[in-house]
Amino acid sequence: MTLQFNDETFREDYSFHNSQRAINRFPFPFDKDSYMYAVNMEQHRGGPADSVYEKRFDVDEHYVSEMRDRALVLADDPLRCQSLPHMTLAGWDLLELIMVSKSEDYPDLFQLHRNGDQWHWINKPLGIDDTFTFMDETTLPYGPMEYITRQAQGDFCVLDQRDDNLWMDAGTVTTQADWSLDFDIGMNFFEWHAPVPLAHEKGIFVRALKFLLNIQQGAPARRLNWTMTVNPLLDTSPENYHKWGVQKGTITPENIGAKQHLRVELQTFYRLPRSNALVFPIRCYLCAFQDIVTMPKWGRRLHRVIRDLPEELATYKGFIDNRPMMLDYLSKFDDGLPTSNGIWPEKDSEPPLQV
């Protein structure tokens, strides 16, 4: 299917919107009617046709507009992209991984021609046609990590692996759920996860770290995470909390269906071969409540998950104050019928909403 790229914004007038195709392929994160932390990892080796799992780095209708938004964020705040000096090799690893993956997975959009160290990269959606010398930073307009992550949706954390730990030593982070690369830079896995409630006590991070340290070349992994965002904002950073935090107070029973978005992160993990670092792409997908509830299964399930979520998690995810209004809205889409297991909408087999 030929991709049509939306011309849309994630700020001010919020013209972001999901087409029917984008709603159909939205990565709804709940595989059952309740939610608790788990090390819910699986291999990242493709998935159902046209799902967000199908390609290594999903490119969708929001690509061009998301990259425009990233450029705006970086122009305002260059510290959203940082790479400590020892991480340059990992940056080249990431550039190679993304260029090779995109050119193989989307040959009509991206092309990579390699002749030894002379590389020719064509990115048709963004109108980029560059020739450079692999491993020679002076031949690119930015460092290798910044260059390629200005052309790839989602945030990228590049983690150094040493002393049986992972270290947040590089990244491009402009579409984050309220955490700051500038604050976390140089921290280890336990340090940057310190604010997360409940999961430490359950031993989640010890097990997750062990899993991540053992991720091997050629065997990437993935998981979904989620939170809530009012208005389709990509940049919900602590740095800009004064801009977006107040918007959580603008929700009303009339506008909640359009303004309240479920924010889902498709997190993937790849071992980078030349540096032995790990890259952790965090791809953000937004979907308005009014679009989610067009899938009867998702409407039923979202109501039950939000209703039964422990208070600490609703607080940590930043929607405790709006939860009653969310439940008023979502309860209209929950008729009490059972739901099938798994995240897929099953629109053909799941019964329509009984009113």
């Binding site: 020892h86 091997q216 070349q217 050629g218 065997a219 032995n276």
Partner: protein
């Protein structure tokens, strides 16, 4: 499936270096390119030795950027269970073999201002790849390489010819030894130590660095253990509901694989922690040989690393 992703390769060259060490060059079957890797990585080579399938880890010594082939060097161990003997005696040019994707448990710390490498014997192999990687990035390194004799000094000629100012070689039979205390004392701030060689050498370097106040994080080491033969023993696998006999010449991990139990593994040398297995019940003594578990874990009787450790006694029940 356990272990890293597999790669089908063809043996392109077999080169005897000296009385003990032979080099093997692997090229991908059907052309194409091998994955790049980082200096210090190893591959697990699968050997079909009659009825027995052996999987041994060997450090990759070729240029990490060269995707046309991987090379390893294998030291023959006449006392061992036969993996190295199989490589020396049975593997011929043209043979097809299966190896794993590269896995690195001995990575360079790229923050280091200087990389100080200390090698003993066949422990030289990971450094050959690391030197290639560092030379490309104009890295600052220095090698101290201890060999038994000139005749057994694998790659000494190559190293001293290409890097005469950075390579220092010591021959045991000429009573030459690394002056470790002075060597460590004279290093600039930000130096990292890497040591690969026999257990005694690793312990010596770690103890000396510790005594001189080196940060633990600045001392890196790798010693692959080959599983050692031992008395046969019986194990009950609780999850798969099987009772298996571990033979004299096989490891506990190999015995589980032989009966079709898919147990996780990566390095098969007691270093990575992947095969850690919970002990449900036991009556007898563990022979722990891994580097992964802490001393108190070894003493607890609650965990075993089946790739290299064994058991002597009446009952052993594992959570597999």
């Amino acid at each position: 499936m356990s272990g890293a992703e597999k790669i089908a390769v063809r043996v392109a060259e077999v080169t005897a270096l000296n009385a003990l060490v032979t080099r093997f060059r692997f090229e991908p079957v059907g052309g194409g390119l091998l994955p790049t890797f980082s200096g210090g990585a190893h591959t697990v080579v699968e050997m079909q030795d009659g009825e027995v399938k052996r999987l041994n880890p060997y450090s990759l010594m070729s240029d990490p950027f060269d995707q046309t082939a991987y090379t390893i060097s294998v030291r023959r161990d006449d006392e061992g269970r036969g993996g190295s003997l199989f490589m020396h005696e049975n593997v011929k040019v043209g043979d097809e073999m299966v190896i794993s994707n590269p896995v690195n448990l001995f990575s360079l710390d790229l923050r280091a201002r200087k990389h100080l490498m200390i090698a003993g014997g066949i422990g030289i192999t990971p450094f050959l790849a690391q030197i290639k990687q560092l030379d490309r990035a104009h890295g600052n390194w220095e090698l101290h390489y201890s060999c038994r004799s000139e005749a057994l000094g694998s790659y000494v000629d190559y190293l001293t010819a290409t890097h005469p100012n950075d390579v220092n070689v010591y021959y045991d039979d000429q009573k030459q030894a690394i002056d470790l205390e002075n060597l460590l004392d004279g290093q600039p701030l930000g130096t990292h130590i890497y040591v690969c060689g026999p257990k005694g050498m690793i312990n010596w370097v770690r103890a000396k660095a510790d005594a001189l106040g080196w940060p633990r994080e600045a001392v890196h080491y790798e010693e692959f253990l080959a599983p050692q033969p031992g008395k046969p023993f019986e194990v009950k696998l609780a999850v798969s509901n099987k009772v298996i006999q571990v033979g004299e010449q096989e490891s506990l991990l190999e015995a589980m694989e032989r009966v079709g139990v898919d147990a996780p593994y990566l390095c098969r040398g007691g270093a990575c922690g992947m095969c850690e297995t919970r002990v449900i019940d036991y009556a007898g003594n563990f022979i722990h040989r891994d580097h992964w578990l802490e001393d108190d874990e070894h003493a607890s009787g609650e965990k075993i690393m089946p790739c290299v450790s064994r058991f002597e006694g009446k009952t052993l029940v594992l959570d597999r």
